[in-house]
Subunit: 160 residues, 2 copies
DNA sequence: ACCTGAAGTGTTATGATATAACAAAAAGGA
DNA sequence: TCCTTTTTGTTATATCATAACACTTCAGGT
């Protein structure tokens, strides 16, 4: 059990169902869910926190799945392109997608105390940014929306 | 002249007024607007584009203002803390603030073709992200809001 | 079964971004 | 002046990311 959207939940279940969904998605789209890629997703899913590429690599190395940086970056490249993971730009770190399957524009609430991350949905084309874009004729391809702050759990423990 | 919010404008004037505003702000707040810091802001202002720290350093070096990375990072640290510049997380690059003086939550429209950047204002606590944050009790300290896409100028020149 | 081409993997090296640490100099107040 | 704080100069190193190339694996066509 760990924070998910800052709430406790059945984490083992959450991991296994997501892995199965990823498997199904790959089968349906002709993508190869190789051992390295599968294990990388599993590692990211093990925490609802952003992991650095080298942290991921260290975990992969423990399983004998590779030791050089490209191993981790290739896996992350696959996972992010497939929509199974996202990069948190503000942290140079990576996190498993919480809404696997849907083609979406994620937004993140990142706790700077405990490093846990919650994923929210946004409609980038709505809101002030979308208005501004339309007003000046800017075409949006991708959005990076991240809020840094303090999650409810950490607010309850002010001096932890 | 270069793009500003993707529109042409009197750029020399824009640089000098912003520098003067920064000077006034520093005087009013007891901050030291040293030659390195002033020149760094001037360099960032010279383009409405995001510049890498090492690009900035190269420019500073031309003026004999330093050659080692900390020189650039210290200047950027000062400028960002003073609100004179922002970091574009999606590019690991830095840009002069277009709304100097106001304490604000900037949002950016970043053209991936010509690298020009427009700065918009947002109210982070409004919109979907703010709703979600309030709903789960998350306290937002800082937001990163960036849209990557194609500016109107580059849409007009599809095969440039 | 065989070839072939595309995708994936192993590995070395390097590039790009950023900071730690500490000494020297400058600025500003008591 | 003297002392403290801030800024600067410099070396070294940490951290994040990719280029390049050889080798392997696997699916599809014949």
């Amino acid at each position: 059990m760990t924070a998910f959207g800052f709430h406790a939940h059945d984490h083992a279940h959450c991991i296994s169902t997501t892995l199965h969904r990823a498997e199904a998605y790959c089968a349906a789209h002709g993508l190869k869910f190789t051992p390295i890629r599968r294990r990388a997703l599993e590692i990211l899913l093990a925490e609802h926190r952003a992991l650095g590429a080298y942290d991921l690599l260290a975990e992969l190395a423990k399983d004998g799945l590779g030791t050089a940086p490209p191993v981790a970056y290739r896996a992350l490249d696959f996972l992010t392109k497939a929509g199974f993971a996202h990069k948190i730009e503000g942290l140079n770190a990576y996190i498993a997608c919480a809404h696997l399957g849907a083609d979406h524009s994620p937004a993140f609430l990142i706790c700077t105390e405990c490093k846990s991350v919650a994923e929210a949905e946004t409609q980038a084309t709505q809101g002030r940014l979308g208005e501004t874009a339309r007003a000046v004729g800017f075409r949006i391809n991708r959005t990076v929306i991240e809020a840094l702050g303090v999650c409810p759990n950490c607010q309850d423990q002010p001096c932890a």
